[in-house]
Symmetry: D2
Subunit: 179 residues, 4 copies
């Protein structure tokens, strides 16, 4: 076990501790929009995960996850892309820390466009081009690549949970598309 792994273990919270913290503090997340780009940097596809939610619904999601104690943002980005898209995804982690937006998830629906019943989460959002082979991991049923145009389909957007549909549209707006 590498020193980093030890450090991460130490940084892990028990489920009880995490639940307690969630009642008291905003939790820091990264939200990542995985994309395929062509040689000119133009986004040609957006990756969406298909999952079964805790209440048994089929839903789509962006790559998303918590930043751990003592973890650099770029390591959290890398870890979550590998966790959801696999170890061969070859993500191009952004060189600069400035996110394209910050999404504020509230446990109460309607405060912002973003909603997380478990917690108040504040998420730094980045577009992350991936150059390698991607495959759904763990509890994801599937990974679908859609064109930016298809990603704007209201039916598809409606399948994205917790406001990820809004975040996807904000990402496409930032990328220059006609949202």
């Amino acid at each position: 076990m590498s020193p980093l792994d030890l450090d991460r273990d130490a940084a892990w919270l028990s489920r009880e501790d995490l639940d307690a913290a969630r009642d008291k503090l905003p939790i820091l997340y990264v939200d990542l929009v995985p994309v395929r780009v062509d040689d000119r940097g133009q986004v040609i596809a957006v990756g969406l995960l298909l999952r079964v939610s805790e209440d048994g619904h089929i839903m789509r999601e962006l790559v998303s996850g918590r930043v751990l104690h003592h973890e650099r943002l770029r390591d959290a980005i890398l870890r979550h892309v590998e966790k959801d898209l696999g170890p061969m995804a070859l993500p191009r982690v952004p060189a600069a820390p400035q996110p394209f937006t910050v999404a504020e998830y509230f446990p109460t629906p309607g405060v912002t466009p973003f909603h997380d019943p478990r917690q108040h989460a504040v998420s730094l959002a980045y577009v992350v081009p991936v150059a390698g082979d991607c495959a759904p991991q763990q509890d994801a049923l599937d990974l679908t690549w859609v064109t930016p145009n298809d990603a704007l389909d209201p039916l598809l957007i409606a399948e994205l949970a917790r406001g990820h549909g809004v975040l996807l549209r904000q990402a496409l707006a930032h990328l220059g598309f006609a949202i």
Copy 2:
């Protein structure tokens, strides 16, 4: 007491709880660079706080503070500007959530340019023009306004604690100055 105040009280952590959380989670902050602008939006002065540190040193600081549970980022920005510059500061809270940078403070010096011995803090950094009367509050000894040029003086930068000198220079770079 307004419902908002009640909500904030509920969101407060005891000193013990906060210390426990700091051992387990990155803590979300906002770092704010208060500025005076002219009619053309040009920054003509930067505001710096003078404080006595916990170990008795005189040091300068930017406006900075924690985001509370259930608190919107814009409310945290407003609250910290009022806390440090007074209720008449009339801050122009940024309309968009995109920060100019994100500063990662580590308890271990040298991991990043930012250091906080108390905790791993991740701070969204914004430039905040203030239009009203500002006065140092609470434990601040003084509030000084310096020109952008004077703000780049290495002697002044050296008085800024915890990497705030780096953040100030990054802010001036973002504002287009010849850092």
Copy 3:
């Protein structure tokens, strides 16, 4: 006539010279989304101009215009806000030069979401809060303030010419709204 006015006159192109340049060079513009904000910096209204187009149609527009030779970007922003919203608009010109997006207008429709039959224009886009009294100037028939929610109405968006509907949605996305 002030030295600045003289300088601007010298910087003006004859109609023939401008037409010749438009055949040879991309022309630099600023596109400005005028907004009203509340004390927390939240956008509560977006300003839209109502004009008669050259071919006699009624259409809506954002504030937009050319950057002149020897003109600073912040002076171009100030000049165009005053030209379209009047001298009492009190615009809060952005302190930093980073635009929220860059819109590329091509004379050929479909190359990008932005279209200008007269020219290839590249436009730096900024959100500009205005604090004063605004009134339509010159050839504008009216100035309407709509809520961010109403600004997303597809019927209203359809009235915006040259891709300004897309730019308005991109601005609202940047501002954190559920576009």
Copy 4:
């Protein structure tokens, strides 16, 4: 000759026409900071060109050049990277159009930190990771890769002409370095 080449030829200005336009209009540029990144997206080196200036001085430069008529920004970025670093540089053209800053070059020194005796140029600045083999092209004497830390050396910064030293520092600030 491809249709694109024909289009570009048509878009070219004669030396006389370009000189005439430069007296009347701001000229649109892109300024590019070529970088090497590691697997975590961390910048490990910055590329600088060594040239002989028109007046015979040795100087360093970033990659920079004009945006042509009818040319997309991403095509201008790609073209200038290939022009200066060679056809095997494999630049990762930014997916989003938002630059990290906009540099305003004035023919009069001192108006801004940027100076171009030939013209008023407005330049969109991007950081561009390159993944392939780079070699100095055309009139460049050499291409040097320096670490971000070495890039901040005042002696090196002083060798950068036209304000490119300021732009390089602004880029490193945007990338999160302790400038």
